[in-house]
Structure formats: structure tokens, C-alpha cells
């Protein structure tokens, strides 16, 4: 028995869910078609195989030729339709939901208590599934699998690539969660077994492993907040000063600075695309580009109106002022997404601040352009590059994203609020207040999260605001 257990440990319990391993375990599946775990793995293998071959058109024929397992069902579909059979359970029939129902006390993770670890892991898994909108996700996966199995899929390689990418990314998420569940029940089995066999070393090893999983899955809770279709994209952040002259223009530049610093802290690339300075201080409006994984997923929490209360340094009478700034965030869709087609002939490209004769008579480093998309009236401009050509290219990128955003809003694929452009954001839609006088505080009006140190927030310490917003807005959605 203990020999057998060791054997299991080496292949399953201590298994790291790497793709190589899944590949390996797949080779068993055709020999043991009735083993549900093998089927589960072969599905995962299929997803790995599929995502690594998505650019290879020739792959489709291999896939169609070999996709069926001996019982005749297609891997992906079988996996999904036999989900119940796959649900991980302990030897004595305890499921992850079952663990939650036991209501074991969750103690601090420094306590060596396996029930506490197990309970915490089960709670996290539950939360993650909720955040991922599990049922919807599984349904989507089923739809995608069905499409992937169509014989004519690769007749349209662009569409096929999109489907296969989405399937791959959803599959990764499912794979992750199910691997955690599997490990959880296996370790519980192991602990019970160790007790029966009186093997404290084995038991403590598994308790330790549970602790590792518990910490790891806590981090995954956060990741699961960013599961929206475009969350992983880079984005543009736009800021516009409200009424109130120099004071609110100064506030706009403070807000912009806050985002630049936030983005730098997160290791994102930041570049100013467009900036319209105020006459005396601050900015009227500005656009920055934030480059990096999940930039949009986080920054979208900032959409809305930000309010500042302070004694204005621009008021000689030292009165208290309230000013407003609107923030919009636009995802920059990756190459895999469908972009709105822009017709050259629909564009009007103008030079900004072109005074005088131009050409040889003028020497200037000012080469800003504004591009207008005539059918929609949407404009974009860029002035921070050093050549007109690059300014035009940057402005085109902004225009493309704005048009894509408009199209997304039209298709209502995203939370309506996040697709709003700067001009559509109502000044009534206040999301956060920053008070510097008479007391000091920053408070998010959506979550009631608040801190008493505005300076650190204005220096880009925004993550807590963002995460509390993301979790409240997602977790309150009932599935």
C-alpha cells in the first residue's frame, strides 16, 4: 500500500501542473478511456496542443483526424459534458463545495491546522470561480470547443485564430482552478491515509503543501479580478479639467501625475501622447499611453469624475475650492482582436498651429497633427513626438482605439461605463473625493474605501483603491 502511495505521489500528488506533464499523462488516456481523470487531462492536453499549434494551419487536419478518443466523443466536449464525473472528490466523497459546507474554522495561516488550510483554499476557489463567472465561462468554453471542432474552421484563419486563442486562454483558467481542486482533495486523502498508517512525516508534508496552496490561491483571487475580455490590454488614460480655470487645470495635471507614477510603480511603460497645457498652470486635457499586461483591467476602475477640495494656491484670498477632473480609459486592443476598418478617404488630417507660409520659410519643432474621422466626427491628436510622421502614427493609434471603443459600446460587450469617452462622462458621475483641507482624506464613493494620506495616493499609491473597487463590483454580481 505504501509503495502504491509513493507511486501516486510521484505522478499525481507532487505533480506540478506543467504542460509537459499533461502531455505525458495523455499517452495513457487512449488506453484507459474510462478513467475520467485521464479524460480531463487529455482535454487539457488538447488545449495545450491546440494553443501551441494555432498558427499552423496544417494542424487542423491532424486534429480532425485524431481528435476522437476511442469512445467516439470529442475530447473537449466530453470533458465539459462529463463535468460531474470530473469533479474532484476525496476517497470518502468530499467535494470542494462539501468542504465549505463543513464550515471548518479558518485560523491564521501560521497555525498548522489542515482543516483551516483546506477551508481557506476551498473559500478561495469558490471566490475565484465566482469572479471568473464560472458557469458562464464553462458555457463559453463549450461553445468555443464546438466551433473548434468544425471541419471548416480554418477556412477563415483570422477567425479560427481568434477562437483558438480565446479557447486557450479560458482553458488555462479552468485548468488552473481544477488543478488546485484536485490537489486539495488529494492532500486531504493523503493526510487521512497518513493518520491511518501513523506516518506523521507524511502528514506534515501534506499540511505544508496545503499551506503553500493556500497562499498561492490567495494571490490568484486577485488575478481573477481581471478576467474581462480586454482586461489584459494596454490602454490610454485621458484626463480633462472641469470648469473652474487654473485651479481645476492644476488638479488635472496632479491627476495625470498620479497615473504616471502609478503606472511606473507597476512597471508599465508610460508615454504622453497629447497634452493641452493651461494658460497659467496645469493642463486642460491630456492623454497618456500605458503599456503592459492588465493595464486596462486595473485602470478602468478609474473612469469617472475625481473631486478635489483644498485651499487653492492660485487664489490670493486663500479660499477653499472644489474642482473636478474627468477620467476616461480606452483599451488598446491587441492584434488578435477585430479592429474597426478605417478608410483613408474618411480622414481629415490637419496640422495644429500651422502659422504662416510653412515649407522652407519656417523652422519649427512643432509638428502636431489632428486627425478627424469624418463619418463619426471623432478626433485624435498627438504633439509629443519629434516628427510629424510619428505624431500622425500616434494620433492614428488613438483614433483607432477610440473607434474600436465606440464599436464595442455599440455591441454592448463591455460594462457600459468603461466604454465611455471623455465627452460622455457626466460631471455628476463622481467616483472619488480628495480632501486636502480642512482635513486630509481620500475616499472612494463607490466602495467607501478611504485613506487619510492623500499625498501617497497622489504619488500613485492607487492599488488598494483599484482592488477594492474591482472586488466590490465583481463580487456583488450574482452569478
Amino acid at each position: 500500500m505504501s509503495f502504491l502511495i509513493l507511486g501516486r505521489r510521484s505522478t499525481q500528488l507532487s505533480r506540478i501542473p506543467t504542460r509537459e506533464l499533461f502531455l505525458f499523462s495523455c499517452s495513457f488516456s487512449s488506453q484507459s478511456p474510462n478513467n475520467s481523470i485521464s479524460n480531463y487531462r487529455s482535454t487539457i492536453f488538447y488545449s495545450w496542443y491546440n494553443s501551441s499549434n494555432r498558427r499552423n494551419k496544417g494542424f487542423s487536419s491532424i486534429f480532425n483526424g485524431r481528435a476522437k478518443n476511442p469512445s467516439g466523443s470529442i475530447w473537449g466536449v466530453r470533458f465539459l459534458s462529463s463535468e460531474a464525473a470530473v469533479e474532484p472528490t476525496t476517497a470518502d466523497g468530499l467535494t470542494v463545495e462539501g468542504i465549505i459546507a463543513k464550515n471548518w474554522n479558518i485560523l491564521d495561516d501560521s497555525e498548522d491546522d489542515w482543516k483551516s488550510h483546506a477551508s481557506s483554499i476551498a473559500q478561495s476557489v469558490h471566490l475565484i470561480k465566482k469572479r471568473l463567472k464560472w458557469k458562464r465561462l464553462m458555457y463559453r468554453l463549450e461553445v468555443l470547443s464546438a466551433q473548434l471542432n468544425k471541419a471548416d474552421l480554418w477556412d477563415d484563419p483570422v477567425h479560427a485564430g481568434k477562437i483558438s486563442r480565446e479557447h486557450g486562454s479560458l482553458m488555462n483558467k479552468v485548468e488552473d482552478v481544477m488543478a488546485i481542486e484536485q490537489e486539495l482533495v488529494e492532500h486531504i486523502d493523503m493526510i487521512k491515509l497518513a493518520r491511518e498508517e501513523n506516518d506523521p512525516e507524511l502528514e506534515s508534508e501534506s499540511v505544508k503543501a496545503l499551506l503553500g496552496i493556500r497562499r498561492n490561491v490567495k494571490e490568484k483571487e486577485l488575478e481573477a479580478l481581471l478576467s474581462g475580455e480586454h482586461d489584459n490590454c494596454s490602454c490610454f488614460i485621458e484626463v480633462q479639467a472641469g470648469a473652474g480655470g487654473t485651479e481645476s487645470m492644476d488638479w488635472a495635471s496632479m491627476v495625470m501625475q498620479m497615473y504616471k507614477m502609478w503606472a511606473q510603480r507597476k512597471g508599465y511603460g508610460v508615454s504622453v501622447v497629447d497634452e493641452m497645457p493651461g494658460e497659467i498652470a496645469g493642463i486642460k486635457r491630456a492623454t497618456i499611453k500605458v503599456d503592459g499586461e492588465n493595464a486596462f483591467g486595473y485602470a478602468k476602475s478609474e473612469v469617472g469624475v475625481h473631486r478635489l477640495v483644498r485651499i487653492s494656491p492660485f487664489d490670493s484670498a486663500k479660499r477653499r475650492h472644489t474642482s473636478f477632473v474627468a477620467v476616461a480609459v480606452i483599451p488598446i486592443l491587441g492584434d488578435g482582436s477585430t479592429h474597426v476598418q478605417i478608410n483613408e478617404s474618411d480622414l481629415r488630417i490637419e496640422r495644429y498651429r500651422s502659422g504662416g507660409a510653412g515649407g522652407q520659410s519656417v523652422n519649427t519643432t512643432e509638428s502636431a497633427v489632428r486627425i478627424t474621422h469624418i463619418p463619426t466626427g471623432i478626433t485624435a491628436s498627438c504633439q509629443n513626438e519629434r516628427s510629424q510622421h510619428s505624431n500622425k502614427a500616434s494620433a492614428m493609434a488613438v483614433l483607432q482605439s477610440r473607434l474600436d471603443q465606440l464599436e464595442m459600446a455599440r455591441q454592448a460587450q463591455m460594462n457600459a461605463q468603461h466604454t465611455q469617452s471623455l465627452t460622455e462622462i457626466s460631471w455628476g458621475n463622481q467616483i472619488r473625493t480628495y480632501v486636502l483641507h480642512p482635513y486630509r482624506m481620500v475616499k472612494d464613493l463607490r466602495t467607501n474605501y478611504e485613506v487619510s494620506d492623500p499625498d501617497s495616493v497622489l504619488e500613485g499609491d492607487l492599488d488598494d483603491f483599484i482592488l477594492s473597487y474591482l472586488s466590490t463590483s465583481i463580487d456583488k454580481d450574482e452569478e
Binding site: A357, G358, G359, Q360, S361, N363, T364, E366, H389
Partner: protein, 367 residues
Amino acid sequence: MRLTKLSERRLRPACVSKKMKLSFIRPISCCSVSSPATSVKPQKPIFLRPPTFKTTISDLQKWHHWAKSLISSVGSTFLELDNGPDSELLLRELNWLVEDAIETPKSFLQQPHKNYNDNSSVAVRASLEQLYMLWKRRVEERMPFQYVVGCEHWRDLVLSVQEGVLIPRPETELIVDLVDDAIKENGELREGLWADLGTGSGALAIGIARILGTSGRVVATDLSPVATAVASYNVQRYDLEEKVHVKQGSWFEPLRDNEGEFVGLVSNPPYIPSKDIGGLQAEVGRHEPRLALDGGASGMNDLIHLCDGAVSMLRPGGFFAFETNGDEQSKFLVHYIETKKQGNFSKVKMVSDFAGIKRFITGFRGR
């Protein structure tokens, strides 16, 4: 068709003798590394120099602070005087100078106001004295910013420029787009021989060479030895020695060998009327070479010469694009071509720049 043959034949004897003479006199004008010692040595732009100078953050901040105070004293006086730069533009230029001159510009620019006692050292591509001197010349002598940093960002290129060479203008970028459109319509143009007349820094020649096919070539000519030296340097920097040949000489003269073989001609010749030169913006009038600007009494001496010469240089179906001073010159030239060069060209038209000024004329050699 027969007419051109005749004129070609008539030209030939003169051509040959000139060529023979030239082969004795003319220095090696192709962009070879072995240019004679007498030729102009191109200067390296600041951003390409090694960061061999060491200075402290605090000294650099003092310089930066001084440079900014110089800027704020300008306000909008230059703008009102001759449409020169205002302080906002100068501030942006100062940031670019910092970007070009300091090895780690980001960390410096992000906290310029913090403290003045930071004695940690920074690596810089020009000495502090040079930085003071350069910025002083920028503001007090109105030296163009591009001569200060030794380069101009043009299209997706960074071209080396120095006094004696015209700084390529943003308007001129569009000529490359016009060529691109023509190439897309007629694939033969992609693989043929092009000429950029009066190449200056080599901007057009390089921009075009980069969109031509593998067998496409560009001959770039200029009368100015500084221009040919700088153009050759830029061609080298973009690894285009195979594709772009820089030759010194007046307009079509260096091209006589290939008369009638060109699939495309582009040029941004001097086009400012002589009487306007005195009133130019200081950056242009005081610093840029007159040879690059002055187009004679009407401003169109060279443009007319180019229109005349294009007939015999271009192959049937070949494309031309010339930059002009604006609406008036463009209209005149289109009319000139339609009446005086009747039948030689087709699809002659004017094209506007992004300011809405009819900046270019384009057309095709008739087939």
C-alpha cells in the same frame, strides 16, 4: 517619342565631353568612405556620441534651471517678432536636448525640482560647457534646435544635420507618401531608378530607398559639398550604401549617364523668392544656407529648370513630385507644364500639405 530621341542625340556629344572632363576634376562624390581629405567631415549628432563626460546631478540641475529661466524670459516675443518659437515650444526642446545628451534622461527629468545637493554623477554626451554654450546659442542667437542637437526627427528617421545643410521640413515627409502611393499603383516603379535632386541631408533619398524593392535605386544629388557629406553619412547610418548613390553637381548634370532611365524624380529645390529671404524667421534666415532657400526673383528658377529637365530624364510612365512655396507657385507650374510641355506629361496635379496649402505638384511622363 522621336523628339526625345533627337534631343538625346543632340545632347550626347556635349555630354560625353563634360563627362570626360568631370572624371578628371570631380572629387569622388559617391558616398564611399574613401572621400578625399578635402571633403567636409560630417558631425555626429549628440545622441550618437558616447557618454564620456561626467558631471553631477546638482550641476546638471543648475544648468537646467538656468536654461529654463532663459526660456521664460522669451515668452512669446519671438512668436510675435517673426513666428519663432514661444517658451512652451522651447521647454519641449529643452527636454529633448536632455533626452539626447544625458545617458539616463528619464530619472533626471522625473525629479528635476527635488534637491540641489545631489552630488551623484551622471554620464553626459556633451560637456557641461558645451551644454551652456549650445542653449545660449539656441535662445540668444536663435540657432535652430536641430543644429543644437545635430539631428532632426523626420518620418521614422533620425537624420544628422549641421550648419550648411537645410533641416528637412515636416511638409516634405509627404513626398515619400506620394511616392509610396505611386509605387503601389505601378509595381515597375518599385524596382527602378529614382533621383532626389538637391538632396540636402538625404532625407527624401533615404525615405524613398526604404520603400523601394530589392533592385530599386536612388541617385541623390546636391551642389553643396556639406550637403553631400551629410547625406552620405546619413545613407551610411541607415545601411543604404547599396541603394543610394550620392553625387555632387548641379541638378541633372550628375545624372547624364542615366538620362531617360529614371522611373521617378523628386525634388524640394530652393523656392523662396529672393526678396523674401531678408524677412525670414531668424532660425531660417540667419542660420540655414541661402543656397538651399533662394529660388531667384520669382522663387521658381530651379523648379522651372526641373520641370524642363524632367522630360528627358524620365522614362515613359515615370513619376515626378516637386515641392513648391505654395498655391501660387503650384498653380503656375501646373499651367506651365500643361501649356509649355504639352503632351509630355499626364495626370499633373497639385497636392496639399496638412496645413491645406497646395505644396506639391505631381505627374507622370506620358507613355
